[in-house]
Structure formats: C-alpha cells, structure tokens
C-alpha cells in the first residue's frame, strides 16, 4: 500500500459506520439510501423546463411530475446534495481536493473520459430499468433483505466480474 491510500479509512470501519447510518435512516424514514433517483429527478426537472409539453406527454417522465410537488423537492435530491457536501468535507480534511482525471498509466485521459461517459450512460439506463443503483437497490435492498436487492447486487457485480477481463487495460 502506498502512503496515500493509508489516509483512507479502514474499509470495515467505513462499512460499519454506513451500516449504522443505514439503520438510522431506516429508523427515521423507513427506507434506505439512494443516489440515482436524484439524478433522475434532476433530468425530469431539466426536461420539464426545456420542453414542458414533451415531458408531460412522455410516459416515463410524466409519472414523476405532479402538480403539487416539484420533482426537486424530493428527499433523494437532498440526500445527494448532502453527499456532495460530505464528500467535499472528507476530501478537504484528507487533502484530496484536486482537479484531475484519474486513469491507469497505460491509457490516455481522453480514453478514460470516453469510457467514463459510456459507463455513466449505461448506468443511467440500467439504474432506471433496475429501479435503483448500487446504493439504492443493492445496498439498501440487501440491508432490508429484499430479494430485489440481492438480485440487483449479484447481477451488477456478476456482470462486472465477467466483463472485467475485456476492460483490464483500462484499469491495471
């Protein structure tokens, strides 16, 4: 291990703390954590301000629009805002704030960014189809012992493991 990574928490410590946090979340709100929903709501809001009619006609997006509640007035949006603040706090305390593209020395920044974009795109589609991302569906789903959470977790990590071989150049 390099010097730098030592600054990170022990993963078990982080795990226990997030586990406790999830417990608290379930205790207060009755549901787990999440992330992709916030992005979805932002997309819906953005679309609605750009092309209101089109959004209202869209079968998918229209279900997240309601007259009395703004899509941004959603607990997930606030949670993700909190995540940004929390991550910034942690990063600044540990001295990790730095604008950069992180990539394997074997590939160029450009290639890394293209893959990041593609990855994000797939994640965007997948998280909507799977009704949640790794944190919302898999992590919280596993904590509540739901079948959906385990299916999600296994299919995300299973696929990633299988596909890992083809993308090894990007990472190692």
């Amino acid at each position: 291990m390099t010097d730098r990574s030592k600054k990170y928490f022990n993963p078990y410590f982080g795990g226990v703390m997030v586990g406790l946090l999830m417990l608290l979340t379930f205790y207060i709100t009755g549901r787990g954590l999440g992330a992709s929903g916030a992005v979805k709501n932002t997309v819906v809001t953005a679309m609605h301000s750009i092309a209101p009619e089109h959004t209202e006609e869209s079968t998918y997006m229209s279900r997240f629009l309601s007259d009395d509640e703004h899509p941004m007035n959603n607990w997930l949006v606030f949670e993700v805002l909190g995540v940004i603040a929390g991550a910034f706090l942690s990063g600044s305390l540990a001295g990790r704030l730095k604008l950069k593209v992180e990539h394997s020395p074997k590939i160029t920044s450009r290639r890394r960014l293209v893959f990041a974009l593609l990855g994000g795109l797939l994640f965007g589609i997948g998280s909507q189809l799977g009704r949640g991302c790794t944190s919302g569906a898999a992590l919280s789903g596993m904590a509540s012992l739901s079948t959906a959470g385990f299916i999600s977790m296994m299919s995300i990590f299973g696929t990633a493991f299988i596909a890992a071989y083809f993308f090894r150049k990007n990472w190692i």
Partner: protein, 196 residues
C-alpha cells in the same frame, strides 16, 4: 416506535432535512473509505483492492442484523420498512447494464457524486453520462415498458423466496462474508500491487 416519519412521529416535512444530514454522513464515509477513486473501486474486479466488497458487505450485514434486532426490541416495525419490488427480469437486465457501466466507467451513481465533489473530472463526465443515459431511457421508454413491468414478484424478502428461515439466511450471509474477507486478504497479498 420507528420508522419515525411513516408512523407520523416526526412530520414528513422533516424528511428533506434528515435526507440532507444523512447524505452528509453518507458522503463523508463514502469518500473517506476511498469510493471517490474509480481505480480503487475497480480494484475489486482485478484483485488489487477489495474495499468495495469489504465495505459493501460490512454495511449490508451491520444494517440487516441491526434491523432484525431493532425489530425484536420494538424500535422498528419491520412491516413498515420499504422493500423493493422484485421485477425479476428488469432487475437482472438492468443489473447487467449497470455491471457493464460499472466496469467501463469505474463508478456508480453515489460514488461518482463523491468523486465529482472532490474534483475528479472523470466523475463529472460519468455523472454527465448518467444524465444522458436517463434521458435516453425515458425517451425510449415505450421500448422498455414491457420489460420494465414484467415478472413482478412483489415486495418479497430473499429468505422467503429461497424458502429458508430468516436467521439461517443471515447467518449464512455472515459466514460467506467472513469467508470472503479472509480470502480476499490472501488474494490481495498475491496480486501484483497497482499504483494509483
């Protein structure tokens, strides 16, 4: 007693306040454990860094075990906890797409937000990709609609679908996780170190 908001003990207006606070803590520990680094995340698939696995299973098991005990001592009404609907085929296919996205992009939504917060440009791009992906999905939703709504098993729990007792399942999960922690420790020693 709990969950507080669905039981009406705390008014629903507090939802967003708690969400913000919970988010701050969540972000703090995600970033602090190293989830803002895509190469650290991807390490789990190549055997040079297993934080994802360790973190993920520790968190899930802590929460799951804690919830069952909380339910027993009467702090949480387990029936009121949200359990995701199991739309099996859309979950699997969505999971496969997310898995591909994970290995290509090196982030998942929560971690990309963390990465973006501390200035990782690749995380920004990933988040941007997610916006486009969701946009594409909603535009192409009629194509997915059949799949999206098929094979719903309802809010079912894993031990119910496997037909075993809850205690047995969680116990097995703990043993599996501990086994994995041990094995990954050995693997990590053998695999060539990767500098990042």
């Amino acid at each position: 007693m709990g969950p507080l908001i669905p039981q009406g003990i705390i008014s629903g207006e507090w939802n967003n306040v708690f969400a913000l606070l919970i988010g701050v803590v969540f972000g703090f520990f995600l970033e602090g454990s190293g989830f803002s680094s895509s190469r650290k995340l991807a390490g789990v698939f190549y055997g040079y860094d297993f934080i994802v696995l360790k973190f993920f299973f520790t968190a899930a098991i802590t929460a799951a075990v804690g919830m069952i005990y909380f339910g027993y001592v009467g702090w949480i009404d387990l029936d009121m906890i949200y359990v995701n609907q199991s739309y099996v085929s859309s979950l699997i296919i969505g999971g496969v797409i997310m898995g591909l996205g994970f290995i290509m992009g090196g982030f998942c939504p929560g971690t990309s937000v963390c990465g973006a917060a501390i200035g990782k440009i690749d995380a920004w791009v990933f988040t941007g990709g997610m916006f486009i992906g969701i946009f594409i999905f909603s535009e192409a939703f009629p194509l997915f609609e059949g799949l999206y709504n098929s094979d719903n098993l309802g809010s079912i729990k894993i031990y119910e679908s496997l037909g075993i007792s809850r205690a047995f399942f969680v116990f097995a999960l703990i043993l599996v996780a501990l086994g994995m922690f041990y094995v990954t420790g050995i693997i990590q020693k053998k695999v060539k170190k990767v500098e990042y």
